[in-house]
Structures are given as C-alpha cells and as structure tokens.
Symmetry: C2
Subunit: 361 residues, 2 copies
Amino acid sequence: MSVGEDGTPVGGGRAGWVAEALREHEEQDERERHDHADVGRRPLPADREQQVLDRIDRARRRRPKVREERITMSHGAGGKATQTLIEAVFLDTFRNPRLEQLEDAARLDIGGARLAFTTDSYVVSPLFFPGGDIGDLAVNGTVNDLSVSGATPLYLSAGFILEEGFPVADLIRITESMQAAAAVAGVQIVTGDTKVVEKGKADGCYINTAGVGLIAQDAPELGVALARPGDAIIVSGCIGDHGVTIMLARGELDIEADLQSDTAPLNDLVRSLLAATGGVRALRDATRGGVATILNEIAKSADVGVLVREDAIPVRTEVRGASELLGIDPMYVACEGRLVAVVDETPRLLVQSGLAGRACG
Amino acid sequence: MSVGEDGTPVGGGRAGWVAEALREHEEQDERERHDHADVGRRPLPADREQQVLDRIDRARRRRPKVREERITMSHGAGGKATQTLIEAVFLDTFRNPRLEQLEDAARLDIGGARLAFTTDSYVVSPLFFPGGDIGDLAVNGTVNDLSVSGATPLYLSAGFILEEGFPVADLIRITESMQAAAAVAGVQIVTGDTKVVEKGKADGCYINTAGVGLIAQDAPELGVALARPGDAIIVSGCIGDHGVTIMLARGELDIEADLQSDTAPLNDLVRSLLAATGGVRALRDATRGGVATILNEIAKSADVGVLVREDAIPVRTEVRGASELLGIDPMYVACEGRLVAVVDETPRLLVQSGLAGRACG
C-alpha cells in the first residue's frame, strides 16, 4: 500500500521541497568547505543551484529530435527515447490541441457528449503468463487509460494481427480471456478486425484495442500539467509485478519466483477515489516505463520538482530480488493495474477511499 | 462508372430475378429434354430449383466452425474463411447486439450522441506503392468504414507496431502521408501508441487506426440486412485497382502496368449520395474480398439473391489483363476507395448525386 497508516505519502512535490533541497545542498557545501577549506574556486551555493536549474530548463525547452536513423527497442520501451519519438515525429506531424495534451486518452466533445478516446497495441511475449495473458492485458490496459482520464469506460474495439500458423485454440483462449476481463470491467467489445501475416512476420498474435468512454459533465479536469507544489502523489499498490513476471516467464533467466502480473481494471478504484475527494489533479496508470516515467511526466508537464521517498514505495521482496539480479530499478518496471494519483491534499483522506487495505503481500 | 448513361445498374436483386432464373433454368431443361428425350429420370424443374434453394438455406443456417487447427493466410483474406473465423470465434465469444450487426462500424448511443466506432489494422506489403502508402491507406480505410455507416468521420487513433531497425525517415514519410489524408478527409488523429518488436517479428510497420464519427439524429438506418428484392446495387468506380497494384508492386510477378491504388476517402461521396436520395438501404466500401464479398454479405444478411451483370461492372484493361494472368477474378480483388451502395430505386436519380462522371479511365 502506498499510504502508510499514518497517512505518509509515497512522494510529493511539497511547498518546502526547494527549501529542503537547498538546505541539503548548503549543508554539503558547508561540509566540503570545512574539509578542503577551499572556498574561492567554487561559485556561491545559490548560484550553483540556479545554474543546475537553468540547465534542466534549457534541456526541457530544446526541440526534441530523433538522432537515430533506425528504430531501436528503446523507442518502444516507454522511456526517454519513446517520448522523443512521440514528440519529434507523431506530435510534430499530427499537431492538434487534442493530441498535444499527451494524456492517456484524448478528450472529445461530440454531439453534446464529453468522450474519452484511446488506443494501445499489445505485443507481449510470452502471450500467456502467470496472472494473465495478452487478452485480459489488452482489455484492462485500455479500460485503465479511459479510467485515468476520468471517463467511464464503455466500448472497446479489438484488432488482431495473427501470424500464419497460430493455433486456433490459443486464439479462442485469448478471446475468452478478453471477454472475461470486459465483463469484470463492465465494457463491451463492439467492433473488430483480423489480419493474418505470413509466418515469421509477427510473434503469434498482436492485439490493438481502442476504447471510448463517457466523461460526466461535472467531472473534474485532470492532467499531469495541473500538478502543483505541495501536492501528494499516491501509488495504489506494489510496483513492478507485471514487468518482472514477464521477464521471468520468458525463461531466459534462471530465476524462479512466486509472482504474477498485476493486470487489473482500475475503473472501480478511480470511481471511488473521485467520489472520496474533489482534490484529484491527475491520474495515470503505470505501464511501460513504470512509476518513475510518470513522475518524470508530472515534473515536465507541470514544471515542478517531485520528491520521492523510495522506501515508502511498496515493492515485493521477489520483485526487489529479481530487479537486483537483473540490474534494473523497480521504479522503471511496468505495472498493469497500478494507479498513480496526484492529489492536492494530505492523503489521509484517501485512506477512506478504498486505497487503504491494498496491502502489498 | 457503375451507372451507364441510360441508368443501367451494375447489378440488382430485382423483383423479377427469381422468375428470370427459373425461366433460364426451364429453358435449359427444355433443351436437355429435347437433346436426350429423357424426362422420366429427372425431377420436375420447380422441384430442382427448390432443392437447390433448400440446400443453400441449410448451409447458411449451419453454425459456423473453424475446422483448421491453425490460422492460415485465408483467415485474413476477407473471404469465407475470414467470415467463419469472425463468426465462430469473435462473435461467439464477444456476443453482444452491437457487434452482431457485423457492419463496418458499431453504432453507439453515448451521452445523448449517436456515434459510429470502428477499427482496422493495416499490414500491407510493400509499405509504399503507386498511388499511396500504408499511411493514407490507414486513414482512408477507417474514414470509409465510418462514412459507410452513415457517420461523419471526426477523430482517429493511430497505433504503430514498428520492427526494430525500421528507418525513421520511412516512419516520418508514413506519418506525413497520414496527416495529409486526414486533412483531406477533415479528421484529426487525436491519440496514439507505439510499440517496437524485435527484428524479424513484424514487416517493418503495422498500423492500427480506430475511428469515431457522429451519426446525425435524422440519419437513415443503414445495413446490408435491409436490402430487399427490387433494390439496385451501385459501385462507384473501377474495381480491383488497389489489389492488383499491390500484387504488382511486390515485384514477384514479371508484369508491369500503369496502375495505381484507388485509396481515397469516401465521406464526400457518401454525403452527396445521402443528400440526393432518401432511398439508400446500405453502404459498404469494397476492401479485402472485393465487391463480390460484399454482394455475398448482402445476400446472406438480407436473405435475398443478387443478380450481377458482370459486363456492367467497370474494370480497367490493366486490371483485367493482370487478373487473367494471375488466374484471379477482379470481383474478389481489394479496392480502397470504392463505394458499394444498395438503393431502393432505379439508379437514374443517383446519376445526379456525383456518382456520374466518375468514369473508369
């Protein structure tokens, strides 16, 4: 669980963080000054702070450019390269205000209705893994993208790209899993498409789902750009379960762990959170790129700093252990059923909303 | 053009078609009776007709079942195997009234608005071909699926599956082509997703587009199931251009022809057709499976027969020639900018709607 019994937040861009960072910085400077007794060659602490902040600011304002000539795996990993590709290619070409928000779903006004619209392709390997498969992943992922945009998920499309030779029994298993996930989330799969590509030109089965949801007329405006200093950031459960489960399920590593994907729909949790407090600024589901990537998006979009208390973020022993062996940081590992919420109040209230009791076993 | 100067329809399930078919049948029987002077061993003509019709009827009512254990290319070709896969797997699992219409787009009522929602994945090879590329194809295809459901196409999503090593310059060329097509059709690409798969696990670039459109409150109900005996069927231009262009562009055949894809948005044409006559029963865009597959869908959904005057269907000399060499029927070859309309009146009126003058060069 992300909110301790005393209501301690996981992390938060608090009003005092700058003062705190400056104080730590000054203390360190003071120590160094004491150690070396060498003040003259170093600029004043406040100036150095400003230099660093200026440098970050210049880097943020730089026009993104894809420097590689060819697509690499990192362009799909959800991190910095993905972000650059999105901004330098897709955003630059398709430029329009609805896309530019870069939220998990676009918000549209059509025929008097406020809608959320989103899409995601699923290319997970292996297709079946502990705790789920590509089918429920494809439904839950799009349900969650709609939920975190403040919409009630309603209808999904399903586009299949199948590799010649793919077992029909596996396809049936996947569609049954999709239907079960749709039933749990209360959505319907209403339109679809199937393409078959030659053997060796897909990895068994790729699925795209797009989704449409309804945003209530009185729904709060949400967006990572709305985060303000002093807000708290909440994570709804253990992080990294899905990503580590997939890495282990590939069988390339000689590690075994009693772990399963966290794939789950978040619409119920979002509904109860929005009902519990009017102070929600932004919601995200932590998928590719993990929780850390969302924190970066918050910092960049809202032009704020994010203070993370890493020891307050729940990580299962198995995830921590596997991550250490793999040399990765659980903060950057994918989840598929974890909500990240930015709220404008102490999270004590949120304990009442159903986030409490979501213990990380 | 599908409508001759005298207003002759391409084909039509006319009131008199059964009588005509029976008369032809009786004439043939009469000839055979004359040739062989052998009447006793054959059932009466009317009985035989009924037997054939009964057999077709039984086949239609049979519960579809995928007999193959593995997916084959034919499951993606848009013909009978695709139809069986859709009905036996997707329809059977996802069963709900919106999906069961099996139209090009689902019709949804959300927040007081009537919407159309559709999806399509594009896996064309080669990615660039005379007259277009995967980018404008992906935009036009979804624009057309929305248009033929009687909706005004508004917003599209774009999901990319890229193969590791894919040239960034090609991706930029594709997105620019998508943006140009979106501008022509008057739609916006408002949400997207990018995944990268390992080298050898995709064919460069696959694109999924989903689309949302608005159906006017006074829009006519449309659907192939509404076709009735006596209706005329119109095709908006030459058929098979796209499919044959792609086959030739693959370069596997030693044929050259001055031919290009017919990829184009149909929303303007649909709008003017619906404005010209209140008698439109159904609209389809002829893609995979060609015009013949649509005629089959009409026959099956509406439980009617379709009479086709093949010589009234416009086919370019190059398409006819290449089809003959390849041993395929242009009626089953893909188009990407051809409207098939079922109308409840003589098509003379439609000549005024902008369908006239669409000469097949």
